[in-house]
Amino acid sequence: MTPEAEGIVFTDVSKFYGEVLGVNKINLRIGPGITSLVGPNGSGKTTLMNLLTGLIRPTRGDIEVLGTRTDDPETFYRNVGYCTQFDTFPKGVTGFALICSLLRLHGFDRQGAGELAWKAIEQVHMTEAAHRRVAGYSKGMRQRIKLALAIAHHPTVLVLDEPLNGLDPMARAESIALFQKLAGEGRFVIVSSHILHEVDIISDSVVMMSNGYVVAEGDIQEVREEMSEHPIGILVRCDKPAVLASRAFSENHVVEVRIDDDGVGVLLRSRSADQLYTLVNRVVLAEGLTVEGVIPVDEDVHSVYSYLIGSNGTGRL
């Protein structure tokens, strides 16, 4: 198995800060693409990221990143780039000098470090401010220079703690596009975020955390399907919603039927996703309905999160 195929593996990992639980009994395998860590403050996201980047050692368990461990830092950190949640800059340096100096810690010579630093700065669209002091940067600029720091040495695994915080909508869109580009190249992009609709847009898979435990992981649809105790809901937009609604009422597995105010949408909730989709297919064929769309209403991160962890539904954790 190639190191990339092995991915990132947490085996029974726990971290305690004295008597305080950081994370407990984490068993995870993270593959390439964008994986989002989701959870409220104090759920253990940053601890998990610090463990993954070797900044803290697990109290128990084992972490492998592409077949390497932190006890071989030279190889390990070639693969890993970390964008921390908080501003962490030495005093008085310019953006370019900062990236150059930290690249030199990776073993690049002066010229190589300069070239890589400039490429990274270009990728985050910071060329104009590159030679200004970081202390004078806006919040969004600091976020972008942190991102450049993380990607400058071309790591395979990118760990980005709240990378979209403080970015304006334009920079946010550019950053998301960059994450998607990096993930599309086969890298492992691990992002923590509080903003669920963004997680929904960018993630290939999610890891949901609560109180130091992983409560769900995987593709969001797969996670949703596992939650059989919560009825699954779909919104069917068609020309005869009343027909579909009446047929759905006669089925035992259907628990809720509601016709939208606009008269073209019907919300169906069922305990069985398979039976619900079969029902819709059957009715459409039998009654000759013209279907405009079938939209899952709770197969997004926010709904799953609400079911599992109990958010107030504001879209922000």
Partner: protein, 307 residues
């Protein structure tokens, strides 16, 4: 899950050797330190005493030059500047005092800004360990301080050897060792104490003040203890007595009388400061270094765990 084909190439070219990467940190720190003009001026002035001493050594071997300056004076009958253990000890003391000020100016700015700005995760999320970080910061002080203490005195030793001949070099080789070891011990001690205070006190003036406080407060406490309890062990808290005793043990390694004379010189005010055994002074130096390292180890972490 989406299909991700590997579409990028990692850098696989040559890299700089791992064992010297701590020096990258030191180089950047040197650049930062020498941006302050006042510090540069003071640092240059630190070489004045050794420059005067080396000039005196040179002139003592070139009386003709001296006589041309003072044509009416009688030629001296004795060695004008005897280059002995006392000579180097005196010079070492002057340079050590100057090095304390250099440390106070440079030391606090090494670690505390990184801690204040939470910059340590930046370093430690790279192939760069805590040991390398401390080594990088330590080497800044070590190099700067050795250049004003051990290095010029070793040059004076070589100058004297060149003027007096190879026999003098051989006969006094123990002085060269005393200079080297004595200055290394001093520089290591004060550098570690400065790094520890810089790591624990994030406000730079406080860290500089702490350095002086650590040098002088225990001295007063030790003297009080000696007077009240009528003993001499309080001198172990006296930095001057401790480092002086260490230097004496190095410079007068074959000269018990010279050692006693130098030990008495450490107590010019006649306080109840009994000469402390050399081994206790060495033990004290090692203990202070060990405690400083422990304190540094507690603070230099990627993430500070607050319980």
């Amino acid at each position: 899950m989406a299909v991700h084909r590997r579409g990028y190439r990692q850098y696989d070219g040559p890299r700089t050797p791992e064992r010297w990467r701590f020096w990258i940190l030191a180089r950047y720190a040197f650049g930062h330190v020498f941006r302050f003009r006042l510090l540069v001026i003071f640092y240059v002035l630190c070489f004045v005493p050794t420059l005067i001493a080396s000039s005196a050594v040179y002139l003592s071997h070139h009386v003709d030059v001296l006589m041309s300056l003072f044509p009416n004076a009688r030629p001296p009958q004795v060695d004008l500047v005897p280059v002995t253990a006392e000579f180097f000890l005196f010079l070492m003391t002057i340079q050590a005092v100057l090095s304390v000020f250099v440390t106070a100016l440079v030391g606090p700015g090494l670690v505390s800004p990184d801690l204040t700005n939470n910059a340590l995760p930046l370093y430690f999320s790279r192939p760069f360990s805590r040991v390398e970080y401390v080594l990088g910061k330590f080497s800044v002080l070590f190099v700067l301080l050795f250049l004003v203490t051990g290095a010029p005195m070793l040059l004076i030793y070589l100058l004297k050897s060149a003027l007096a001949g190879s026999q003098w070099f051989i006969d006094n080789i123990h002085l060269a060792f005393a200079i080297l070891i004595g200055s290394l011990v001093w520089v290591t001690l004060i550098s570690l104490v400065a790094l520890a205070s810089s790591a624990w006190l994030r406000w730079r003036p406080a860290a500089a003040g702490m350095l002086f406080a650590l040098l002088f407060f225990p001295t007063g406490f030790g003297r009080a203890a000696n007077e009240i309890m009528r003993m001499g062990w309080g001198s172990l808290l006296n930095a001057i007595v401790v480092i002086g005793t260490v230097w004496n043990s190095l410079f007068f390694i074959n000269d018990a009388e010279g050692y006693a004379r130098a030990a008495r010189a450490l107590n010019p005010m006649g306080f109840r400061t009994l000469p402390i055994p050399a081994w206790t002074a060495w033990l004290m130096v090692v203990s202070v270094c060990a405690v400083s390292l422990l304190l540094i180890n507690r603070k230099i972490r990627a993430y500070e765990v607050v319980r």
